[in-house]
Amino acid sequence: MGKPYNNTKATLALAKASFRSIMRSPSAVVFTLAFPLIFILVFGFIGSSEIKVKLAVAPGSDLQNPVIQALEHHSMVSLVKDTDTADIRNGLEKGNIDALINVKKNEAGTPAYLANVQYTSASMDKGSILKSVLNNLLSTLNAKDVKPTVAELYESTVQGRVYRRIDFILPGQLGFSLLSTGVFGTAFVFFSLRQNLVIKRFFATPVKRSSIVFGECLARIGFALLGAIFIIVIGHFFFHFTLIHGAITVLNMLLLSIIGLIVFMGFGFVVSGIAKSESTIPPISNIITLPQFLLSGTFFSIDVFPTWLQPISRALPLTYLNDAMRKVAFEGAGLWDVKQQILIMVIWGIGIYAVAVKTFKWE
């Protein structure tokens, strides 16, 4: 009895209990791990496919000529042979086939072949790709064995880092995972602890209020970091997610995750305070998470949004977390290099916790 009360011990006991509880809660595991992983899997596989132009070869077209043979070996063209005219027409109208080619031997002598190409308005973008492929191909074929009279073109590509779709998608999914864990998890836990008088029973023990909040946060941060490591590891080893400086990059990403999560938990505290019943938590949380999910560059860069929308995107905290994550992971930036993004998140944090202190309810 004479021993002084140990606040740290109480905080850790709470963190341990909360962590066990989270690990056994299906919704937490689904939102933090399963959702982001599904998106990463989907985009990981979609991202690796290349653009292919479907080019039908007209029935009766000559096949044994340099044009068709070159097209056959072209990586961006897939030839559709042995299809009858009606099917080809149908395919062109629906855009299932992007163009039709018919090559004929020239009876007049020169040039040796005549190539007739028909595009479709149902697939204009692929049509233009084919156009430039054909131009390139034919000028190479025509210029064979002929010295250019004006200039000869030499092309080469600088070998840079390969920027894969996963390099964009993974940081966005990680950010979204942190956002939903922070907002939904925190809101539900504090609401239900309050509602079921769990917190009231805690108050009958010598535990401090700060220990309750701190213990909960500790557990959630621990859980979210495990989730983040899991996502990064899967991304890196299965989809070649770029980690420029290896472990250091991972460490920086985890530190960013903690900053982001603390900000997002602030939203969760506010939601738990203003929700009138358990069923109002999801709609209120969605109002906070969905706009950020769509507008913060989770799936595509915010540069593609219309200009009137971009200022909104640039006001959201997740935008800056995503931005900082990508810079750290792909460009190898250190935390100091993304200080501007961190600063904006900190400002959001101060603002949201000011609101949380006003709205949070203990009983």
């Binding site: 009895m1 021993k3 009360y5 140990n6 011990k9 109480a10 850790l12 006991a13 709470l14 341990k16 209990a17 909360s18 066990r20 509880s21 056994r24 809660s25 239900s192 602890l193 079921n196 008088l197 769990v198 009231k200 029973r201 805690f202 108050f203 009958a204 023990t205 010598p206 535990v207």
Partner: protein, 256 residues
């Protein structure tokens, strides 16, 4: 009787909410190592009084000392020497009984063996069960086990037997008596007068926020009888509950 020490003393306790006065100036003392009952209808102010003594609620006025500590100045010291069972309290979700015990031992800052605590209330077989999966009687026993973690001087039980079947109720009485026999003071609220009569050393009747009677059950009954009161029906040597217990057995049941 004169050597009894007051471990709790309540003087002129008043609790006002916005539009009603829940407790209007009640005073009483609880003696060391007794079972003290607060009796009265719903809304009489029993729970409010209890929660103010437990430092869970602010009082409007009055003076309360618990083992010499004042509720407003030494709330934390009081919390360390009392155990509290709330009416309808919940426990942390998704945890089993052993894990909940570990949590509470951390919250109280004491080292206990969870299994030993569960054995005290005969729940060792349910160690891996979740609180939600327990029956009513098991839940109450578990709640009482959490009040014993810090080896408290006083425990507060708020309607611990409400909704329990006769067997569960009787073995809870045995548990409460054994806790008292181990030196702990017990403050209990209940609606059941037979329970108060069997269990309590002294009872206080609370009505509309005031204490209208306070004495041992024996004295209260004798006073009424002396005033000329007679039951309409001659009391038999047993009642229907005795018949029920006699027929169905008194032993602890798997589900109570």
């Amino acid at each position: 009787m004169s050597t009894k020490n007051a471990i709790i003393s309540v003087k002129n306790l008043v609790k006002k909410y916005d539009d009603l006065t829940a407790v209007q100036g009640i005073s009483f003392e609880v003696y060391e190592n007794e079972i003290f009952g607060l009796l009265g209808p719903n809304g009489a102010g029993k729970t409010t009084t209890l929660e103010i003594i437990e430092t869970l609620r602010e009082k409007t006025s009055g003076e309360i000392l618990v083992d010499g500590y004042s509720v407003e100045k030494d709330a934390n010291k009081i919390k360390r020497i009392i155990g509290v069972q709330l009416q309808a309290a919940g426990y942390y979700p998704n945890l089993n009984l052993v894990e909940l015990m570990e949590l509470f031992s951390g919250l109280y800052g004491v080292d206990i063996k969870p299994m030993e605590m569960l054995e005290k209330v005969n729940l060792q077989d349910k160690a891996k069960a979740k609180y939600k999966a327990l029956s009513g009687g098991q839940k109450q026993r578990f709640s009482i086990a959490t009040t014993l973690i810090n080896a408290p001087k006083i425990i507060f039980l708020d309607e611990p037997t409400t909704g329990l079947d006769p067997q569960a109720r009787r073995n809870l009485w045995d548990l409460i008596i054994s806790i008292r026999n181990n030196g702990t003071t017990v403050v209990i609220t209940t609606h059941y007068m037979d329970e108060a009569e069997q269990l309590c050393d002294r009872v206080a009747f609370v009505e509309r926020g005031e204490i209208i009677a306070l004495d041992t059950p024996d004295n209260l009954i004798d006073n009424l009888v002396n005033s000329g009161f007679e039951r309409k029906k001659e009391v038999k040597k047993a009642n229907l509950e005795d018949v029920f217990i006699n027929l169905t057995g008194k032993e602890w049941r798997e589900d109570n």
